[in-house]
């Protein structure tokens, strides 16, 4: 009963498209969409695309990192963050995707695939509350 996962589909799309010329690719894209529609998979398209971008990034030695902050991050800080993340992920090139989010109150929140480095004020306050109530 091997069900085909979204990951399988994303990988298949990647294998079909890679190493093709741009012209060939533009022929393939409508076919892929028709395939997804036929298999009733269009509702799962966002997840499939997310997985596809991860597969492409992996193949190209890149890693996508989403970073949330309250204000725009300074260039210098960005370079520092990139350097540190690159070290953590085995020298892969880090592609930063910035997002402004007031709800985190302050600090940064970095998401890489399914890992989260939460340095936001909101998280710290929450953790501090937990820590102080637990230890008393």
């Amino acid at each position: 009963m091997a069900a085909i996962s979204n990951n399988n589909i994303a990988r298949a799309i990647y294998l079909a498209v890679k190493e093709k010329s741009t012209a060939e690719q533009s022929l393939l894209f409508p076919k892929i969409v028709r395939f997804l529609a036929r298999k009733k998979l269009l509702s799962k398209a966002p997840d499939i695309l997310a997985r596809l971008s991860k597969i492409i990034n992996d193949a190209e030695g890149k890693v996508a990192a989403k970073i949330s902050s309250v204000e725009k991050i300074k260039e210098m800080d960005k370079r520092e963050i990139k350097k540190n993340l690159s070290k953590r992920y085995g020298g892969m090139e880090v592609v930063l995707e910035e997002r402004l989010d007031e709800k985190i109150l302050g600090g940064y929140r970095i998401e890489v695939n399914d890992e989260v480095i939460d340095l936001s004020m909101k998280n710290r306050i929450g953790k501090l509350q937990e820590y102080l109530t637990k230890s008393s």
Partner: protein, 499 residues
Amino acid sequence: MSTNHIVENLKKEIENFSAQMKVEKVGKVLELFDGIAKVSGLSDIKSSEMVTFPNGEMGVALNLEDDAIGVIILGDFSKIREGDEVKATGRILEVPVSDNILGRAVNAIGVPIDGKGVLKADKTYPVEKVAPGVVTRQGVDQPVATGIKVIDAIIPVGRGQRELIIGDRQTGKTAIAIDAILNQKGQNMICVYVSIGQKDSKLRKIEARLEAGGAMEYTVIVSAGASEAAALAYIAPYTGVSIAEYFMDQGKDVLIIYDDLSKHAVAYREISLLLRRPPGREAYPGDVFYLHSRLLERACRRNEKYGGGSITAFPIIETQAGDISAYIPTNVISITDGQIFLETDLFYKGIRPAVNVGSSVSRVGSSAQIKAMKKVAGTLKLDLAQFRELEAFSQFGSDLDDTTKRQLERGKRAVEVLKQLQYAPVKTEHQVVTLYALTRGYMDDVAIDRIKEFEQGLIEYSEHNAKAFYKQVIEKKMWDDAGEADLKKAIEDFKNTFK
């Protein structure tokens, strides 16, 4: 405490705390139904690892698939929503344990439910653990005194044994288990009662009964009630045995009761079907045997070199219309070291406990009996079996020879002696005296309807007039000739006064 001191301390705490920041693995809830969540992400999660939901509920990863994991939610799942962030903890499901847990009632994840306040735990024990290996074990040779005559005499249970209690509904399965707990007072035994899918009213009654009998001092109740999620019912017996292992690791003997494993199997079936695992016979999943075998294998007697201690397990199985060849009963029968088989017919005939002596066995057998008990009860099972056969046979004709008549009369008295009221455990030495009188023929001329009265009187009389015999049985577990003469005299004297 000065203000300065408070500030200093708080500062230190905050400094300690800052160092705790780390990378977390998170996933998102994709689907949620009936206490099961499908979660994306969490790539490096282990099987049966704990995860936390935003509202503090815990979950356990059971299914690890290519692009998602199946999580069972331990607790209230009504506040969890699609898209919620799920965090991995890196720890296998564990339960808090401490000596303070004695006398408490906790739920399947070790949180008190008895309203007696917070439970301070010094340690946690993993819920799933591999059973002790061969080299750490020792044969079963010490008795568990259940205080129930028919069990202690005919189906003896030893410390470290797994004895199944099986029967239809309303045949007294739980009653046997509760009597066994009540009788452990002063026997150096810790008891764990795991209630799986039982009515809360029943649990309340049991707790009140144990409290009244002074048994809560050495008992822990683990409960996953009928109103709680199937995930909790699935975890509860493992939580119970983890608590038992905590005490066994201190070298103590533990008695654990799983009431009942049929409902446990049903809860696991529910979870498995929701997780879309393929169903097998009676729609149970393929690993339902392993579900119970790995649980019951954790009952053991450890040898002194590895710290001693034991876990004796009394799993309970409820059958439908006496069908012990259904899937779950046959499985559990084959796992355990014997079974106590209770029958509706016997129950309504007034033979209570309604133990069917013929189909009940204890595979550990008499090595777990004290010598005195072995001596008086040795032939009892055979006598009863012969009695049953003769009883059926004698219905056809009235011309019976004297030996047969004698056997029949003896059998009827044996059945009468083995009847016992609920919550009235009998001490081992009293059992020895009663069975001695029975098997040596002292009861043959007592009218059947006065047997109970005779037994009661004999125990009271002999306790005062055969002290030497009692002393020997309690201290040396066997009597000598002088002791036996002492008891014989006491019985004869008592018989003269009993009219």
